[in-house]
């Protein structure tokens, strides 16, 4: 079971109530991982409205996650 390091930004940070966490997950892709987290943290935005970055680069939602990956979920923000 891969252990992943997660970071949340903006709306997600607010809804999760934390900026970062380390999780052990059965999910193999960012999309599967997000569904798991959305249920746990009650995230309201669907994945289609977010971007995900793995190891400091934007990634597709269906790539395979590996042990030790750093995953960042980024919602769009527009404040000025």
């Amino acid at each position: 079971m891969p252990r992943l390091h997660l970071h949340y930004y903006a709306l997600l940070r607010e809804q999760a109530g934390i900026q970062a966490e380390t999780v052990d997950t059965a999910a193999s892709t960012p999309l599967g991982l997000y569904s798991e987290l959305a249920a746990r943290h009650r995230f309201r935005l669907p994945a289609s409205q977010l971007r995900v970055a793995v190891n400091a680069a934007f990634s597709d939602w269906d790539r395979t996650l590996a042990d030790g990956d750093e995953v960042v979920f980024i919602p769009p923000v527009a404040g000025g």
């Binding site: 930004y9 935005l45 769009p76």
Partner: protein
């Protein structure tokens, strides 16, 4: 009756005010400038005003007309005394009738400031010691600049050549809010020769905590104009042009083509995509930033180098209302200030050719964590706009085609199916004023949980009408033509 006049007779304020008593005017503001007994430490006993009348009248009328137009006043007039006046007498009188007090105060203030600044009027002061002297009332004559760039000239990467390059550069700043204030102040300070600031808004009390270019006295004034005035005073060697208008389809191409770099300091996605698209089409670099509470995102779009664009990062129909802006989510003043300074830094890197420029990256800044994260964001081959063409799905429909204004009870009676898209906590705090509605929070709606029947009109409702509009656009884009948003949300129902 002319809007600007000179008079040799004592000013009759009540008589002048009569033609300004309009039924449509909810606000009437006046200003009286009076002869003071002391000027610059000397006791004054009397004054004598002289003017170059032909020029002053034409210029005075222009100033009054312009103030009426700019602030949306109904009528205004100004009368200036000439000849001899005693201490305490009224030397100049300004009156403005406007729909509300904000426009009346703002226009009145602008008229007296402009009159004092530009009109060819002189006064001869008669002093108590028997002496007298002529004083130019205006301040249009500027002293030579004392602005000193030596601390930045000392940088080997800048020097005289770099400073000269900055002086010849032109930067377009869209939005004069929290980000814009920081960007403008930094660029004016560094000596960028020409700054153009575009903003259609006026200064609001809730802007001041994070927008230090404005003072309490600027409330109600157009931001672009107040910012330009402040920046010109800060560094008179920089030319600052204020455009009090929206950055829109009609003017974006022309404005962006005429500049070296465009800086996006707007607070909504519709404008950010517009800046991105205009920059991509014109091949002009753009520096974009957004803030949220304690965080910010920064991206440099290198249209001139075939780099990735905003649409490469946000290819889905990203919409205003899905995430909060400063008004809805809250923001701490230093957050836009830091992000705006980072934008200014990227602009200077571009103009001076400094190393370390952000390119095909997204910079995430978290000021609670004091952390920065640089994410590689290469050009997306599936970019919805192919980096230039506009993605039709993202373009926002005009409000008139989406919003409806009517009491909820009438909407229910008219057969609208009412859907409350607020979060459960909000619904508990402020229950819907009508029964028989459906409750589907925005996130679930975006996930497809609202079953839309084809023959029934739907009215989406939230607190202020922003999220409901985004949700209505989302459903319309999926082919549901009979979906509407309640304008102003529940907050507007009491009006």
């Amino acid at each position: 009756m002319s809007d600007f006049e000179f008079t040799q007779e004592p000013i009759d304020a009540a008589g002048l005010a009569c033609p300004l008593a309009l039924d449509s005017a909810g606000g009437f503001a006046t200003f009286e400038g009076r002869v003071r007994e002391v000027n610059e430490g000397r006791v004054v006993t009397a004054l004598e005003y002289e003017a170059y009348e032909a020029l002053a009248i034409a210029e005075g009328e222009r100033i009054v007309t312009e103030a009426i137009r700019r602030y949306g006043a109904l009528r205004a007039r100004c009368v200036h005394r000439l000849g001899k006046l005693k201490v305490g007498e009224v030397a100049v009188w300004v009156g403005v009738a406007a729909p509300h007090r904000a426009e009346a105060f703002a226009a009145c203030r602008a008229i007296i400031d402009e009159i004092k600044h530009w009109l060819p009027i002189w006064k001869k002061e008669q002093y108590a010691d028997g002496d007298s002297g002529w004083v130019n009332c205006g301040h249009a004559v500027r002293t030579p600049s004392q602005f000193d760039y030596s601390r930045q000239l000392a940088l080997p990467e800048v020097g005289e050549a770099g400073q000269a390059r900055l002086a010849q550069s032109s930067v377009l700043v869209i939005g004069a809010g929290g980000l814009g204030c920081a960007v403008l102040a930094a660029l004016a300070g560094s000596g960028v020769g020409r700054l153009t600031v575009v903003d259609h808004d006026t200064v609001q009390p809730a802007n001041l905590h994070r927008q230090p270019l404005y003072a309490v006295a600027d409330i109600g004034r157009p931001k672009a104009e107040a910012a330009a005035e402040r920046l010109s005073a800060y560094n008179p060697t920089v030319r600052v042009d204020a455009l009090v208008r929206r950055f829109d389809d009609g003017n974006s191409a022309k404005l962006v083509e005429a500049t070296d770099v465009v800086v996006d300091c707007t607070d909504n996605f519709a404008s950010k995509f517009l800046v991105n698209d205009a920059a991509m089409r014109a091949g002009v670099p753009a520096v974009l930033a957004s803030v949220y509470q304690y965080e910010g995102q920064l991206q440099v779009v290198r249209a001139d180098r075939g780099g990735s664009c905003l649409r490469c990062q946000w290819p889905e129909a990203t919409r205003d209302g899905l995430v909060g802006n400063c008004e809805q989510a809250g923001v701490l003043g230093p957050v836009p200030a830091v992000l705006g300074q980072l934008q200014a830094m990227e602009v200077l890197k571009l103009l001076l050719g400094l190393p370390g420029q952000l390119r095909d990256e997204l910079l995430l800044v978290d000021l609670l964590e004091s952390s920065q994260r640089r994410l590689a964001a290469p050009r997306n081959p599936d970019c919805a706009g192919r980096c230039v063409r506009v993605d039709a799905a993202v373009r926002t429909a005009p409000a008139a085609e989406l919003d409806v204004t009517l009491p909820l009870a009438s909407a229910a009676a008219a057969g609208y199916r009412i859907v409350d898209i607020r979060e459960p906590m909000e619904c508990e705090f402020e229950p819907m004023p009508v029964a028989g509605h459906e409750s589907v929070p925005l996130g679930r709606l975006l996930d497809g949980e609202l079953v839309v029947k084809p023959d029934v009109p739907y009215l989406l409702v939230c607190a202020h009408g922003v999220r409901s509009r985004a949700a209505a656009e989302f459903l319309r884009a999926r082919g549901h033509a009979n979906v509407w948003s309640l304008r102003g949300g529940l907050a507007a129902q009491g009006d």
